[in-house]
């Protein structure tokens, strides 16, 4: 077993996969935390699925995939952000509309693209083994930007997440903060698509932050813990996928899900509280 692990790690594609996995873990841990505390899981799911339109666009025009998807996702997240802000009582309906429309656009564009793209499945369910050095550079830059922005605006994001009305009462345009947060979600979703695919993205954005929240008391420690957990899930998932020749997206999610269900009750803070 040790030998086979060492052998695996000697392959460049496995190294690339692990590097991409760790970078996806950083983005999804940090932004997933903000998604969970702001109760915008469905919203993030909408952005992730609408990104399929971006993949269709990239295939149709022959442009590089990740930057194209990023551009498309930023636009769709802005659209969702503006629509949900105006009709806040029907937020989930608006998300449902854009979720489906994004995917439909993607399907149409791929229909119109000559030839059949086998690679398509890898964007839906993740294919970490196809990570190119270019992808790695792109992900590293995006990771840097996301981490820097969250660190720089940490207090603003904290105040927004805790009580956005109060923030508005302090003279801050909360719509802008909302759109800023949505853009961060879009960037992180695009980074994670390579690793687990857009259908499974939400697992990394929800499970680790949820567990982290139960074990920690501050936003930054929740982010940090979520990043560590996602790194463990993704690394273990990739290695299992390589050893048994399985889809990395599915193994990552199942590792995370199993861990999630097993540890659901192991929260030091709330363990002794009586159940409602």
């Amino acid at each position: 077993m040790e030998q086979s692990l060492a052998l695996l790690l000697s392959y460049a594609f496995v190294k690339n996969a692990l590097a991409a996995g760790i970078m996806a873990a950083i983005a999804s841990g940090i932004i997933g935390t903000l998604v969970v505390v702001n109760r915008m899981v469905f919203l993030a799911g909408g952005i992730a699925h609408a990104a399929y339109g971006g993949i269709g666009l990239a295939f149709f025009t022959g442009m590089p995939v990740l930057p194209t998807v990023l551009g498309f996702s930023l636009c769709s997240s802005a659209a969702i952000g503006i629509l949900t802000k105006k009709r806040s009582e029907r937020t989930d309906t608006m998300i449902g509309v854009l979720w489906a429309m994004g995917m439909a656009i993607g399907i149409l564009l791929i229909d119109m693209t000559p030839g059949y793209n086998v690679d398509l499945m890898s964007f839906l369910f993740g294919s970490i083994l196809a990570v190119s050095p270019n992808d790695l550079v792109f992900m590293m830059i995006m990771d840097g930007i996301v981490t820097f922005l969250v660190a720089a605006f940490y207090r603003l994001l904290l105040a927004y997440s805790y009580d956005r009305e109060f923030l508005a009462a302090r003279g801050i345009n909360t719509t802008l903060v909302h759109l800023f947060l949505m853009a961060l979600v879009a960037v992180s979703v695009v980074m994670t698509i390579r690793v687990v695919g857009l259908v499974l993205v939400m697992a990394l954005f929800t499970m680790a932050p949820y567990l982290a929240e139960k074990w920690t008391g501050t936003l930054w420690s929740m982010m940090f813990t979520a990043v560590i957990l996602n790194t463990i899930f993704i690394t273990a998932g990739i290695l299992i996928a390589c050893v048994f020749n399985l889809s990395s997206g599915a193994t990552i999610i199942l590792v995370a899900g199993t861990f999630f269900l097993l540890t659901l009750n192991l929260s030091p803070g709330r363990f002794f509280m009586k159940n409602p």
Binding site: A152, R155, L158, E165, R170, G171, I172, W220, S221
Partner: protein, 280 residues
């Protein structure tokens, strides 16, 4: 420094109609009125969270959302027993964030942690509220009353010129209420205070004027209720106004107060206590 409200009404249901109020600097106003009468809406208009359909609001001579960095606001329904990963001091510090109606002033926001001077300010405010010991606790683990005091500290930390409090005493025990009222009276020397309250009995000796928001709005630059107000509150003239007294000194006898109404008042009280007994 004054709040100069002219006229406004609010979209959908007309909540406030043709209101004309001027509140002077240094005032301590109790805002009263029945459920859904628009007390909270009134505060939000001053904060610039809502815009009036017509008329203008000037706070400190400026547009509300320009002046709002000078306003300390304590919302009514605290984000309650909600689990949230933040310490009490983080929440209080968020009261220092200020903007000009669009973007935050970057000094207060950039960087992951606050400077020590801000932290000291936040701790002083918690000290004032008597909950300095909770500074490092998680906000999700507080009781309703504790959380309310945290939110009061958050409203105070920016040392505002105007303090808008939406039912600040709702979950706070009687002993602490007295302390907080004295504290507010102290703060009133440097701040104008508007306080929404349901409990007319809470109108203590510190309050300088009363604003009653019913279907109509009455503003009295004296700490007393009038017949107009009690009627607007849905209390008919027959109700004993003794029930509405603030127990400050001097006693304020409000409106008409004759023997007949006093008897009725007692009857109502007796009936209430009977009901409570039968329930028990």
């Amino acid at each position: 420094m004054d709040i100069r409200d002219v006229t406004f009404s609010l979209s959908g249901n007309t909540i406030l109609k043709d209101v004309n109020i001027t509140i002077q600097q240094g005032d301590f106003v109790a805002v009263i009125g029945p459920n859904g009468s628009g007390k909270t809406t009134f505060l939000k208009l001053i904060l610039g969270l809502y815009r009036p359909d017509k008329g203008t609001i000037r706070v400190l001579g400026q547009e509300p959302n320009r002046a709002c960095s000078h306003i300390g606001y304590m919302p009514q329904h605290p984000t309650g027993d909600r689990i949230f990963p933040a310490r009490v001091i983080d929440v209080v510090l968020s009261g220092l964030i200020a903007g000009n109606g669009l973007l935050p002033s970057l000094v207060r926001v950039i960087g992951p942690s606050c400077n020590n001077q801000d932290k000291r300010k936040a701790l002083e405010c918690l000290e004032l509220m008597g909950i300095r010991g909770l500074a490092k606790k998680n906000v999700g683990n507080l009781s309703g009353g504790q959380l309310q005091r945290v939110l009061l500290a958050r409203a105070l930390v920016s040392n505002p010129k105007i303090l808008l409090l939406d039912e600040p005493m709702a979950n706070i025990d009687m002993g602490t209420r007295g302390i907080l009222f004295d504290l507010l009276a102290d703060l009133n020397r440097s701040m104008t205070i508007l306080m929404v309250t349901h409990d007319i009995g809470l109108i203590s000796r510190h309050i300088k004027s009363v604003l009653c928001i019913g279907p109509q709005v009455f503003f009295h630059e004296a700490a007393e209720l009038t017949m107009d107000m009690t009627q607007a509150l849905g209390l008919q003239g027959e109700t004993c106004h003794m029930e509405l007294l603030g127990h400050g000194i001097p006693h304020r006898v409000l409106g008409r107060h004759n023997e007949m109404s006093e008897k009725r008042g007692k009857m109502i009280k007796n009936r209430r206590s009977d009901q409570q007994e039968s329930k028990g």
